[in-house]
């Protein structure tokens, strides 16, 4: 709760909150206080503070979310192998237990801090802040936060990141966006991971996955990713490269706070299979 900045108090509801406001007092010793504050505002304040850390160091921060086993750590390993020489990469790993994932990334030669959440099924901004104070962001260009494997709640907690990415692996089935709308409508890109398995799982339809995603009013690009081959990683590397380029130019003009993820070249919005949702084709 924020006493100092009154973040959820708008001109429209201010009078309700101020002492002596319409709802503030009643005669019987009962009092009704209109608060109108987000239940996670404490987390949101910490997330803003984290963002200040990131901006002081000029670091782009990407939050990776998915079910357990969709391939987040494998994607990070492959990304480090592909870009590690050219780019300063660091990782914060969230897991219920074990240092395994952080260890896997250290073996790739990058700094990685493990957060073990115990029973908490998501990372929150406070946990990320603690991890930040255990690592140096000097010479880091991109910080990845691998969230706890869970399609339900990580989306509700701002960590201070600039970009949210969800992985949807082929073995999970193409209807996941329809089943987990809170998560999928919150992300800036969806990676269809393990696409090498499409040949053995023909029941997975990338078009159905995309239709389910668009049904959430999401413009997020859907990128095919497979870490088992160099070509399989390329769509992700291209998209990531675009985000980094846009972030760097925002950094040069001191406008990091205004950075927004770009949809990227893999622009899928005119996909013909979505015609049922777009009755007018690009009438601009």
């Amino acid at each position: 709760m924020c006493d100092t900045c009154g973040c959820n108090i708008t001109p429209g509801n201010k009078h309700l909150v101020e002492a002596g406001g319409k709802f503030s007092h009643s005669a019987s010793g009962h009092e009704s206080v209109e608060v109108l504050q987000n239940l996670l505002s404490e987390n949101d304040h910490q997330a803003d503070h984290n963002r200040e850390h990131f901006h002081r160091h000029g670091v782009l921060v990407i939050n990776l979310m998915s079910s357990p086993g969709a391939g987040k750590t494998s994607l990070l390993e492959a990304t480090v192998r592909a870009l590690g020489g050219k780019l300063g990469i660091a990782v914060i790993e969230g897991d219920l237990e074990t240092e395994n994932d952080a260890q896997r990334l250290r073996e790739c030669g990058i700094p990685a801090v493990q957060i073990t959440t115990g029973s908490a099924c998501h990372l929150d901004a406070h946990m990320v802040h603690q991890a930040l104070h255990q690592m140096s962001l000097d010479n880091i260009d991109v910080l990845f936060i691998e969230n706890v494997g869970n399609l339900v709640c990580p989306a509700s907690f701002d960590l201070g990141q600039h970009i949210n990415v969800a992985l949807l692996s082929v073995p999970e089935g193409d209807d996941k966006p329809a089943k987990y709308p809170v998560m999928f409508r919150a992300v800036d890109a969806v990676l269809l991971s393990k696409t090498d398995l499409l040949q053995v799982l023909p029941e997975f339809s990338p078009q159905r996955a995309e239709t389910a995603l668009r049904s959430l009013a999401s413009e997020a690009p859907l990128l095919n990713v497979n870490v088992r081959s160099a070509e399989g990683l390329q769509p992700w590397l291209d998209w990531l490269g675009e985000q980094i380029a846009v972030f760097k130019s925002a950094r040069e003009t001191g406008a990091m706070g205004h950075f927004r993820p770009v949809t990227g070249q893999a622009h899928v919005l005119t996909h013909p299979h979505l015609s049922q949702f777009t009755p007018r084709e690009n009438d601009g």
Binding site: M1, G29, E31, S32, V35, Q37, E42, F157, S215, F277
Partner: protein, 125 residues
Amino acid sequence: MHELSVCQALVEQAELIARERQASVTRLILQIGPLSGVESELLRRAFPLASAGTCCEGAALEILAAPVTVYCPDCMVTSEVAANKLLCPECGNWRTSLASGDEMVLQTVELETRAANGNESTGQR
């Protein structure tokens, strides 16, 4: 699920307000939308646990469910839709914007002043 941690945040917010006024909490009113990521039913179950031993213990928890509605910029209408089908029901457009349904808001805290009964003389008027 994280309803317990959301509930703890709720209790902390309410405690700050109650402490400031030296009062105890009798009722909390929340707005929870289906796209907020928290389940009202789980919140209700977590509340006695999160509030035990605080000034919210025993308070009534009232949860107002906000409907999921989207605004279509083409039709300029707002319509109620399902949480996983945020298309405009009029024209099928998927480039809509959410008008309501993702709230996770503490709307009202009702308090009872501890000195309420013996202290009427200091009241206004």
